[in-house]
Subunit: 117 residues, 2 copies
């Protein structure tokens, strides 16, 4: 289970993959395998959450790293680059970006106030 | 706080907004306001989590609805359409899609097995 909180000490990576619907399941499997085999063991990894769009055209990895620096250090690793290269042979495009959680709103808990922006 | 779980009975909406960096904060504020004033009270709303990219060019709403039908019903409401129209006067583009959570991976808990795809 992953939690989203406005004040959590994590860097949030949201990576949007564009994919042919016929290859969406293959991309999901490749992301799950790469995460289990490699990314969970890299320093600073907190979580990865693999999502498949109902229309088949997107896969989103909602991931959390301990800091932007941990994420940037991971990008420099040859083993991570190899896994990402394999994933990009399945996906048509990848759009990874780091985010901050500005606010969370929920019917089951109090709203978290915006965190400074 | 929002939780991401592979077996949760929710429809996940990931809405990626493209925005001029100079207007990112304005877009975040508009989404927070619309959520608090309207969306939290609409039947089927579970959560909304507003994210701002560090590069300024994107805002992502990671939201949860009780079902795809609840989300589709919301889209038909005139009050929701009005709020979304106001948001689209700030954003350059919006790409809303419904997703399922295929798998979650975490260093702090056991990995959830892929949910059928």
């Amino acid at each position: 289970m992953t939690t989203i909180q406005a004040d959590a000490p994590v860097a949030t990576l949201i990576n949007v993959f564009t994919v042919e619907p016929a290859r969406q399941a293959e991309l999901v499997a490749a992301l799950n395998q790469a995460t289990e085999q490699l990314f969970v063991g890299i320093p600073g990894f907190v979580s990865a959450n693999i999502h498949a769009s109902l229309d088949g055209a997107r896969v989103v990895n909602y991931a959390q790293w301990a800091s932007p620096e941990h994420f940037q250090a991971m990008l420099q690793r040859p083993d991570a680059q190899q896994h990402m290269g394999e994933i990009m042979r399945i996906a048509d495009n990848t759009e990874p970006r780091l985010f901050i959680v500005c606010a969370t709103h929920s019917v089951s808990a109090a709203t978290t106030p915006p965190a400074g922006r």
